[in-house]
Amino acid sequence: MKQTFTIGIGGAAGQGVATPGDIFAKIFSRRGLHLNAYNAYQSIIRGGHTFLTIRTGPERVSNMGDRVDLLIPLNQDAMNRHLGLLTDGAACIYNADTITPGVPAKGALLCPLPVSKLADISRNKVAQNTLAVGAGLSMMGIGFQSLEEVLTEQFKKKGDAVVSENVGIARAGYDYATAHFEPFPWPLPMTNNRYAVLSGNIAMAMGGAAAGVKFYCAYPMSPSTGVLHWMAAHARKAGIMVRQVEDEIGVVNMAIGAAHAGVRSMCATSGGGFALMTEGLGLSAMMETPVVVIDCQRAGPSTGVPTKTEQGDLWQILGAAFGDYPRVIAAPLDIGDCFKIIPEIFNIADRFQCPGIVLCDLLLSEGRLSVDPKDLDFAPVVDRGELITSVPSTSGSSGDGVYKRYKITESGISPRAVPGVPGYAHTAASDEHDEDGVLISDEFTNPTKRRNMMEKRMRKVTGIEAAVPPPVLSGSRDADITLIGWGSTKGVIEEACEILTEQGIPANHLQIRWLVPLHGDAILNILKDTRHTIIVENNYSGQFARYLRSETSYVPNGYIRKYDGEPFMPHHIVEAVKEQLGGKSRLSVPAHEILV
């Protein structure tokens, strides 16, 4: 099993859980360690309970893992909720002045800090946090230098006095721990790598910039807002027109308007906003104007649980907009993939002049992962398809009278002229139209033309299928168990497979990234050689399982589902697999043990 170390920091919103989290994350990534951070929180500005987990290690860490090695409760509530998570070898650092510890499990260590003796708490409200960070780093075997650097950067703007005050407090915590607490048995190593720490939202925004997005608009909605924030903060630097619009109906239509005028345009929302966008999505399909829409799923229905994750929007996306139309739908597999998928889906949407939908979720959008920038292509191939932005110099003619915007072609793709190109004027309409854009919706309704246009558009599906690679099985072909997942669950399923295999149950894994087109035949081909298949997903009804069945008639041996708002942890899957192999059940719904 891979060596990792997990810190859990709990407290009320407004108590500054994020800052120690950020400090740890910076120090780990600068040591060349991988990390994965996940914040369990509520839709509240002050109060409630927030629990941040940061898991780090020299190898890739793709999920929050199963154990907490160091617990830092910032209030009594956090102590009460989480002390029980600690097992042998773990430790809890807490403010002994204000928090009464519970009884820890055998082998778990209590590390009380006499906060008011170590720092002047009347001057520094977050002294307990800084002391705990210092103490924790000492116990992890990390030199103080790295903490001093990060604190100096953080407080530089506030002047030298503030820097030295904070460094002093951190130092006091560090030295106190060195003198009083037993260090962790496994000092955190160091590597020569240098990672960046990205959230999925930042990754998607940067992926958009790399793809040449020139227009981004949104209406804020958790957990998609991070995309808007990055875009707004970097609009000038990255040369992107960024607008906040009055609602999601306006958002999608504005994005389509810009796309229609010829730029790559993108917008992001969550399930509720996406519901408002669906009519516009049909417009994009009918006018054959490519636009990329991101849905960062949160727990629904309705306002649901705005700060919790779920994979519950699949059927909304599959059913979005009425009528049949070609589209492409992709679910990024991890935070690095959030970056990569955007240029890819833009190329397909542009080539096939259809909407592209990215089905992300809170786990990736707001989770954070160390990513090696070398793995990201900052100048990916841009394929805008058959786009006419000026009168072709070779043609000699201005195209007068011959240009048919919706020309019937073998591939279904008709060269797309942007407005304003002389000789290429046309009508683009939400009504059904003829090859040349003339509406055939009312007086001129014509079944033959309607059929031809429908078939023209739908022929693009064949091309899209060829442009999107089929999924592949990861792990050994010869396995007792095959776990099937889609999108953000990749990391945790992967780790569950490793654990199962180590424990004598060889497991492999099929993760779906492209939902439409699905490549059902390729999937069946993979699955025909398997022994026992289980579909793992973060929703109540098994939305992907139903989709797979509807496309392929495939029925797996079992299901593992979770719909409590929290992501899977590896042991949830491992235990459920064992339960199902023992014939106890075909559907497992693991309980989330962390009380958030």
Partner: protein
């Protein structure tokens, strides 16, 4: 030697086009529908202003009115969006290509009912575009139900009486920031013609509410959007005279009775007052007068408000002269270095 039998050369405008070049497809709307008359006025105004048809982007929503872009200016780009959503499409398209001369045609249902949210936000932006509401008080295309501009007490053919007060799109537009707001009547050929020419010259959002009777569903006794009602209740505020920048001004005007507004391109809009106390450059006065008109059951027409100096959305956003849509990728895609810098912030 000149022959006597030759047909006279067709009249052409300042860019060498005849009025035929501004025509559209044959209308499918009902004979006598106000919307058709408005299409005709648009053709004349565009022709007289010498607008290059290829520069024009016609946008519309859904409705009989929204169909009408098909019936004028076939050489222009046309964009029929979905019901009530043209304002955001227009905004997106203009931001991506600021060189377009954007002409939106909507209906009272399209703008004041389903699309009111989009409409008010468009007015706030002062996006350079001409936005026409062809206002008949009903949803023509779905066979004549009341829209949100129908006056309280007006009656459908079926006898149904409208029980809610109307939304006045003009006072909304003035309040929210549109910089050229007018009301006209499809039957008032002269007034609408001059108003449209001034609209084309204006830089900023032009919002024209043009009463446009629906002969099929709302032109009977008891309707307040009928030809007859308009004949009886129209109160023109001014006599509008528009002198484009490319024409000589030969007639002097009397400053006592006429207000002259110089437009952004140097054209002049001369408003010879019919109602002496009305000042079309006074926002608050305009809204107050509109409220009074509602109480008195008058339909005020004319230029209700004009401000030819306010910055537009394009000015505000400081967009490059060259449209985003045609800027090369090398200019607009952030370089590898820029993205590397952004990544550095995350280490």
């Amino acid at each position: 030697m000149a022959t006597t039998s030759s047909t006279p050369a067709p009249k052409i405008n300042r860019i060498g086009l005849s009025v035929m070049e501004y025509k559209g497809g044959k209308t499918t709307l009902c004979a006598g529908c106000g919307h058709n008359a408005i299409s005709e006025r648009i053709i004349d105004a565009m022709y007289e202003m010498g607008v290059q048809p290829e520069r024009v982007a016609k946008l519309s929503g859904i409705g009989c009115s929204s169909k009408s872009p098909a019936y004028f200016m076939s050489r222009s780009h046309s964009f029929n969006s979905v019901h009530g959503r043209m304002p955001s499409l227009a905004t997106g398209a203009m931001l991506a290509n600021r060189n377009l001369l954007t002409l939106g045609v909507s209906g009272d249902g399209d703008s004041a009912s389903i699309g009111i949210g989009q409409f008010v936000h468009l007015m706030r932006r002062n996006l350079p575009m001409v936005y026409i509401i062809e206002d008949n008080g009903v949803y023509g295309l779905t066979k004549g139900q009341f829209s949100a501009t129908a006056d309280v007490g007006s009656k459908l053919k079926t006898g149904v009486v409208n029980d809610l007060p109307p939304i006045d799109t003009c006072s909304l537009a003035i309040e929210l920031g549109a910089t050229f707001v007018g009301r006209s009547f499809s039957g008032d050929k002269r007034q609408l013609h001059s108003m449209l020419k001034a609209a084309i010259a204006h830089r900023g959002t032009v919002m024209l509410d043009v009463i446009s009777p629906c002969v099929t569903f709302n032109d009977h006794e008891g309707s307040t959007k009928s030809y007859k009602y308009m004949k009886d209740h129209e109160e023109p505020l001014q006599d509008i005279n528009f002198v484009p920048y490319f024409e000589e001004i030969d007639v002097e005007y009397d400053a006592g009775t006429t207000v002259e507004v110089t437009m952004h391109d140097g054209s002049r809009l001369r408003l010879r007052k019919i109602e002496e106390s009305y000042d079309a450059t006074n926002r608050i006065g305009a809204i107050q007068r509109l409220l009074e008109a509602h109480d008195k059951q008058e339909v005020l027409t004319g230029v209700l408000y004009v401000n030819s100096t306010a910055p537009t959305f394009i000015d505000l956003l400081n967009i490059t002269e060259e449209p985003l849509a045609t800027l090369p990728e090398s200019v607009t895609r952030p370089s590898r270095e820029v993205l590397e810098q952004c990544m550095e912030e995350l280490r």
